[in-house]
């Protein structure tokens, strides 16, 4: 077919055989081997003999015979010996010739290239999947972050609204407090709640032309509930809204107050109260206490060191027991003198080292001389803050000074 002299054709055939290790088989139409030649051992097919059932001896022939087309090529088939062959099929009448050509070198080279390409592809596919997962996780994080920011904004709005309401409530509570008086007795006060709304409240007013009432309430706890009760009690005293009660008699007032403000009807809150009545004509002071710290009387002029006298009285807190009784005490207020009524927050001060301020340190401050133009109450507040150190005081700081 190539029109070459037999000598050249034979040489070429020898060249192909030398490079490709030829082996050849022939199978008849009964699928019996009729020929087996070439280097069959090279492919692990040694031992095959004419007469053998072709498909039983040579597995890859299963299903291929008779040939559907000729010539027919199966590329790169791994043989039993491990060598790789291109398997050529040719029909020659009723006989099928099968020629094996070794392509192991080309196969191995192709495998090396393909291995690298597939490794790279699998790696990049894996990387793409990881990036996709990371992006999904990132999106989820962004969504969570957005939701968090939204809920934080909502919380901030609620907080701002509550703060605004608390500030309004504080303004109302402060508006309820009486203004300082300059005569006939000078009355001044300092009120520093530990939170926007404290549990302290106080008041003073003339019951009649001769009797001056002075009182301080300290509800256990802080915040809205404590402030509401404190303001309510102060308002009850200011408006003298206790039935069948002589507001000139402190023990009677506290007993009636105790009946009106039992804790089970007032959110389980209770309070301490100091209530005193000064009689201008006689200069006497009648007073009673419901679990409250004693008022302090400092005798002598303001600009000299005075003497401190505790005005103690006994009685339980308002609201704890409906059968509570209150003792009434009396003393004279010499002029000049200063009467201090205060809550425990003025002297129960924790220092930065954890120790508590002594009550005697507090009373010593009360008895110190006050220079002209200075405020003894401001000095006291400054002293408390200095003792406490940085940050707001833990408890409400409330003190009233009545100077005679």
């Amino acid at each position: 077919m190539l029109h070459l002299p037999a000598q050249i054709s034979d040489s070429l055939m020898l060249l192909v055989h030398g490079q490709r290790v030829l082996a050849h088989l022939a199978v008849d139409d009964a699928q019996k081997l009729v020929h087996a030649g070439g280097d069959l051992a090279h492919y692990g097919l040694d031992g095959i003999q004419p007469g053998d059932a072709a498909c039983e001896r040579i597995s890859f022939l299963e299903g291929l015979l008779p040939l559907a087309e000729s010539p027919f090529l199966l590329r790169s088939m791994e043989m039993p010996s491990g060598r790789v062959a291109d398997v050529h099929f040719f029909a020659d009448g009723s006989t099928v010739w099968i020629v094996l050509l070794d392509v192991t070198t080309e196969h191995d080279e192709a495998q090396r290239v393909q291995q690298k390409a597939y490794d790279m592809t699998l790696l990049s596919q894996r990387e793409a999947r990881l990036i996709e997962q990371l992006e999904a996780a990132n999106q989820e994080l962004r969504r969570a972050h957005r939701e968090l920011a939204e809920s934080r904004e909502a919380l901030q709005r609620t907080h701002d609204r509550l703060q605004q309401e608390l500030r309004e409530a504080e303004r109302y509570v402060r508006a309820m407090l009486p203004a300082p008086l300059s005569g006939p007795m000078a009355v001044d006060w300092r009120f520093v709640p530990s939170t926007e709304l404290g549990g302290d409240s106080f008041g003073y007013h003339w019951i009649d032309a001769e009797h001056f009432a002075l009182y301080l309430i300290d509800v256990c706890g802080h915040g809205v509930g404590a402030a509401l009760l404190s303001v309510a009690v102060a308002d009850t005293l200011r408006s003298e809204a206790l039935p069948r009660t002589d507001f000139r008699r402190p023990a009677e007032v506290l007993a009636a107050l105790n009946q009106a403000y039992q804790m089970e009807r007032h959110g389980e809150l209770f309070c301490t109260v100091w209530y005193g009545v000064y009689h201008r004509g006689t200069g006497s002071l009648r007073y009673a206490s419901a679990g409250h710290p004693p008022a302090m009387l400092v005798s002598g002029p303001r600009d000299a060191a005075g003497e401190c006298l505790a005005l103690k009285a006994s009685g339980p807190c308002i609201g704890i027991s409906p059968v509570a009784r209150y003792g009434e005490e009396q003393c004279s207020l010499p002029s000049p003198a200063r009467l201090f009524v205060f809550s425990d927050g003025t002297y129960e001060i924790t220092r930065p080292d954890g120790s508590m301020l002594a009550f005697s340190d507090f009373t010593e401050m009360l008895a110190r001389p006050v220079r002209e133009g200075q405020s003894g109450l401001d000095s006291l507040l400054e002293f408390a803050r200095e003792m406490h150190g940085p940050g707001v005081l833990e408890d409400d700081f409330t003190i009233i000074e009545m100077a005679l």
Binding site: S59, G63, L64, L74, V84, Q111, Q115, Y118, L122, Q125
Partner: protein, 164 residues
């Protein structure tokens, strides 16, 4: 003895060679070695009481550059389509191969093996797509050449289909 030719088809790297090694030699290697051309193995099974010789053609996987050589399928009695359960795109490659095989040699029995079932956390096959293919007559088996899960059973299920 009766002989049946079975081909393993699918995208590259789905585990066709590993499935054959697990089934024929009961071994597994984590190292990936690509197949060029075709490797042929033989395994004798007993279906009912009759022995059946399975001639297994492990055919090079399909990639973007080269399609499966359908000439390798000539004379096949059935085939196993292999999918990598962690690579969704290999399910589509399998679907494409199945279409071409049917066009070339007609409808012959096949099973689809969702391989690498041991990698549960990386499983990525869309359930809806699987349902659609099941509706089109596909039968799925979850296999793992690594653990051996359902490997022997899958080959023998196909053998049983061919022996009918």
């Amino acid at each position: 003895m009766l002989q049946k030719k079975i081909c393993l088809l699918g995208a590259f790297g789905v585990g066709k060679t590993s499935l054959v090694r697990r089934y024929v030699d009961t071994i597994f290697s984590d190292a990936y070695l690509t197949t060029v051309g075709v490797k042929i193995d033989k395994k004798i099974v007993t279906i009912g009481t009759e022995p059946l010789s399975l001639i297994l053609w492990d055919i090079a996987g399909e990639d973007e550059m080269s399609a499966v050589r359908l000439s390798y399928l000539r004379g096949a009695a059935g085939y196993l389509l292999v999918v990598d359960g962690t690579r969704a795109e290999t399910l589509e490659t399998a679907a494409s191969i199945q279409t071409r095989v049917t066009a070339e040699i007609g409808k012959i029995p096949f099973l689809t093996l969702l391989n690498k079932a041991d990698l549960k956390e990386e499983w990525a096959l869309p359930a809806q797509r699987l349902e659609t293919l099941e509706g089109a007559g596909w039968t799925f088996r979850r296999t793992s050449a690594k653990t051996g899960e359902s490997v022997e059973a899958s080959f023998e299920d196909l053998a049983a289909l061919l022996a009918r």
